[in-house]
Amino acid sequence: MRKMKKYLALFLALMMLVSVLAACGKEETPETPDTPNTPDTPSTPDTPDTPDTPDTPDTPDTPEGPEIQEFDPSLTYTYNTSVSQLPTGWNPHTYQTADDAVYFDYTTDSLYTLVFNDEIHPLEGREAFDGYVIIPSMAADFPVDVTESVKAAHPEFNIPDSATSGYAWSVKLRDDLKWDDGTPITAQDFVDSLERVLRPELLNYRAADYDHGTYSVVNAEKYSNAGNPVFTSFADMGTTYEDYIANGGTDAEVAVDMNGFWAVPGPDGQHDWGYITDDTMVRDPAVEDENGEEAYVSAKYLWDNYLGPNGGYAGSGYDLAYAGVISYPYEAGYSFDNVGLFVSGDNELTFVYNNALDGFYLMTYGMSTQYLVRTDLYDSCLQQTETAKGNVWSSTYGTSMDTSVSYGPYKVTEYQTDKVMHFSKNENWHGWTDDAFTYVDPEDGLRYRMYETTDVDIQYVKEANTRKQMFLAGQLMTYGLQSEDYDQYRNSEYYYATPAETVFFLLFNGYEDVINQREAAADFDATTTDLQVQMLESFRRACAVSIDRERMAAEVSPARQGGYAFVGNTYIYDPETCAYYRDTDQAKMALVDFYSIDLADYNNDLDAAVAAITGYDPVTAKEKFAEAYQEALDLGYVTDADNDGVSDQTVTMIYAMNGEMTDFYRKTLEFLNTSLNAAAEGTGFAGKISIEASAPLGNAWSDNIRNGLMDTQLAGWSGSTLDPFGMADTWTDAGQAYWGQWFDASEYDMTINLDGADVTMNVRDWALCLNGSMKTDSNGVEHNYGYGQTTVDNRLTILAEIEKFMLTAYNCVPILQDGSGSLLSQQVYYIVEEYNPMMGRGGIQYMKYNYDDAAWADYVASQGGTLQY
């Protein structure tokens, strides 16, 4: 026994020695090269809210140009990148996060795709690489309008009699489409895939992408919702409760939209509504105290107390908007044969839409076919699980290499959950030999194939520090800079700033009733604290000009820059020509007017005037704070009992925190407090302004802002890059805007001169009108300024006027324009320096390599293993 112990001890000692020796062995190149951050791959654009119908582009010419420079097939070029969350499932019918969507960037294709304009793909009137064009990818050619013939042959699609174009389009597919194993992809695969994503019993998360909205195909909604009930408000029905009952309706059919009206789910947890006869109580999470008043509500309660004939909201309009009737318009067992996608010929698809579509939107959104799946594999991955409610379907499709299939440039060749995902060339992708997938390099004038990258390696790397070290060691292709990196790398020749859509506003609370309630609370000390002053416009204006936005960006969040408008820098109003809203004269004039810039000071140079805007004016700030102080005294918001000329109360705004206190929040609060108090120095608010952090609220922060329980946040909307007009709807919609409870845009009239005539409507109607609704002006004339309903110039004018109005309403002030900064590895370069919201800098499609993998390893070693940027 003792000998055994000795041998055991000796063995352990040997193990330790071996371990140490192993650890100190000769350096080797890591087998798996590890990687960086967010690749600069252009993302799929969001679906804009507005239907648009641009013209169809001309049929493309066969690409011609210089001789194509082929890449040396013996060399490997690996794009090494990293993510902080690796995809865990990439079933195109069920994925829910952008993390999972990374897979699609490399392995899927589309009928039509965007490429930069150049000699091969010219765009009239634009410099090479200054815009983009659409080219067929999986499609053999551009779509053909077959509205007339489909209308005649397929009455089940209910194409309007008056329609002559735009509703039905046929697309011829390429003959050489293949899955990554070489099996052909046929037109029937597209149809079968759409059927599966919409199949009602599968409850696929992505069904909603295809069954409703502007770009949905006909009857998709009927198929995916077969047998489901639908709530229709009295407002939408054009009736009232009383009329409905008088016409034979019964209470048993009437329901309350509980989610819309009270922000609670319906009693069955499945629907937003509940019948007015149903007294099942539902917990209202907005009432923190479980025993508090209205912590539980039922549909019956809401009806009896608010929306019904004897309720407090009877006749308010809410009773029409949030009460209605349940009906069953979706026929159970509805056949997919009636859905508007079918095989119409030899490898030809025909799409039939609910709305007329054309051009850019047709080929990008309308013909999005990301639902394409390998149906035999898909069916084998379906599984049913018994639940307390019955059975529910799930699928393992797209969760491993065995259950994945590619039809794009790359295919997955290695996957380990939460560790690594590796892609290699999919030799069966048509683009490798298609001359349309070539470009002329703006630097050397030679013609190259796209996708020089042969492999893509995505590693899970959680810590930014690790990413940075790996990047500097040449193991990652990009590194997204952290705040502390900007001083060192901002001027690097490898630094790239990338603007983002969102403008962050500093919000103000104007919900007077709630503010007064908060001040009346027992634990509120009105002798030292004030919440009401923030409602004064003079105070808000003072705050607006107290903040040096560029300095704030530099100190608080260096990736961002100062924000001065409601619409950010990246919004494109005309996707056909890649024209930016902020570049228009209308948008520039809106800012010049709002910031009171005298054009004469800039020789009427609009660009120079806009460039001069800083939004920072401490002199005016002081004047406005003094004015606000006097106003606050007069209104009794604050007092000055000791007559020292300074408010007894500290004007306090609670910053609604959505998470724990981070460096960003700490710096933001510090900067804002310092700026506001510095500007208020010498006024009655000197040292008496305080923005204080709330407890972490999670996603509830926005509800707290909307309900007036919290006062401020740096918040914004990102909207859709291609639809700046839709933003106007958001700002003026009480249901969406942060200030919806105390600011009603329909109460403000605005006159705009269009085509030489003055038109007056309230601001909300202008926004609706701009987004396609028919509205009546003050003279009783109806207008619709939606896409295609008026000139682009008029639409830009309206949007600029609404933006200016919202700026002057001071519900918030724009502070920061979102953005990010990153370093690019010396191994590669972008052929386009300028960032394009639709194309990025070309992403992996256009990425060029200075070194192949082997040469890069040698180069890094020659630099001592650490690179200088």
Partner: protein
């Protein structure tokens, strides 16, 4: 002893069921994320929640949960983190990476820790003891993730001796894999070594001054013989539970260390499941670690009797 063990197993089962039920209900009491009403996907999510029985009484759901496990060893599918995938396969698939790192770690930390403790005790009040004791206090006061960052910076980035991350794949006993996990092993080890050193030194110092040690020396044993045969064995009553704890800890991953070195293990799985409200993953990991913890307690208790014959289990005297 056998009766005692049976009794403990019965109690263990009762505790296990109570904890499981409590966790089952508590995780379901957490409010589900509020869905944006204007989002068209909301409808599908709500319908799926309903189909999954989330709105049924907790006990009905619990009964089905138990039934599926007992009759089919079916722990359910992930509804959030690994959508549609069998949670048992996910868990088991991630366990080896955690185990291998922890196993290598304890294989050298235990002997080194005990060895340093013995050395410090034997050299009590000399510079060696002072050095070891001071270093132990410093090391034990610093969290392991600090070592992780330091090790990654020094050994991986500056000296380039090791890769930054654990190697991908499942060749856990390959040379390349071993090399790639040296940094996390070192990161996990310092604190454990310090812990064993401190415990061993404290126990051994006390035992070495006992009268029976004097007797052992007077009957002719060398100092080494007396220390190994008598002193150390007495110390082990305290040390062995720690060793058991370490071995059990093999199955539990470190959220932070696994994150830093990209170890695809189970560390953080429970926390992520709570944050993501992935009920089935949470319940599986909870049940697994509850069972392991309870079993470990039993094993440790029984082990006392083997280490020290003076300790008798289940005795009513």
């Amino acid at each position: 002893m056998f009766k005692y063990a049976l009794q403990r197993i019965f109690y263990m089962f009762c505790v296990f069921m109570i904890i499981t039920l409590m966790c089952f209900i508590l995780i379901r009491m957490l409010p589900l994320p509020v869905l944006p009403p204007e989002d068209p996907h909301t409808k599908v999510v709500e319908m799926r929640r309903e189909a999954l029985g989330y709105n049924e009484p907790y006990l009905v759901q619990f009964w089905l949960f138990l039934k599926n496990i007992v009759t089919d060893w079916n722990w359910g599918l992930s509804e959030k983190l690994y959508f549609g995938q069998d949670v048992w396969k996910i868990f088991i698939g991630k366990l080896p990476a955690t185990m291998i790192v922890n196993l290598y770690s304890i294989l050298w930390t235990i002997p080194v820790g005990i060895g340093l403790g013995v050395l410090a005790a034997l050299k009590k009040n000399t510079w060696i003891d002072y050095f070891i004791s001071t270093a132990t206090m410093v090391v034990i006061s610093v969290p392991s993730f600090v070592y992780a960052f330091l090790i990654q910076y020094l050994l991986c980035y500056k000296l380039q001796w090791f890769p930054f991350l654990m190697k991908g794949g499942t060749d856990y006993f390959s040379w390349a894999m071993f090399k790639s996990i040296v940094p996390p092993i070192l990161s996990l080890s310092f604190g454990v070594i310090a812990g064993f050193t401190r415990t061993t030194r404290a126990e051994l110092t006390e035992v070495l001054t006992s009268e029976f040690m004097l007797l052992a020396r007077t009957k002719g044993l060398t100092k080494a013989q007396a220390t190994v045969r008598h002193a150390l064995r007495n110390c082990f009553v305290v040390i062995v539970p720690g060793i058991f704890g370490e071995f059990i800890g093999i199955l539990g991953g470190s959220l932070i260390i696994e994150g830093i070195f990209a170890i695809p293990g189970v560390g953080g799985l429970t926390l992520n499941a709570i944050n993501g409200l992935d009920y089935n993953i949470f319940m599986l990991s909870t049940c697994f670690y509850t069972a392991i913890g309870l079993a470990a307690g039993l094993v440790v208790d029984i082990s006392y009797g083997f280490i020290d014959p003076r300790i008798r289990m289940g005795s009513k005297k």
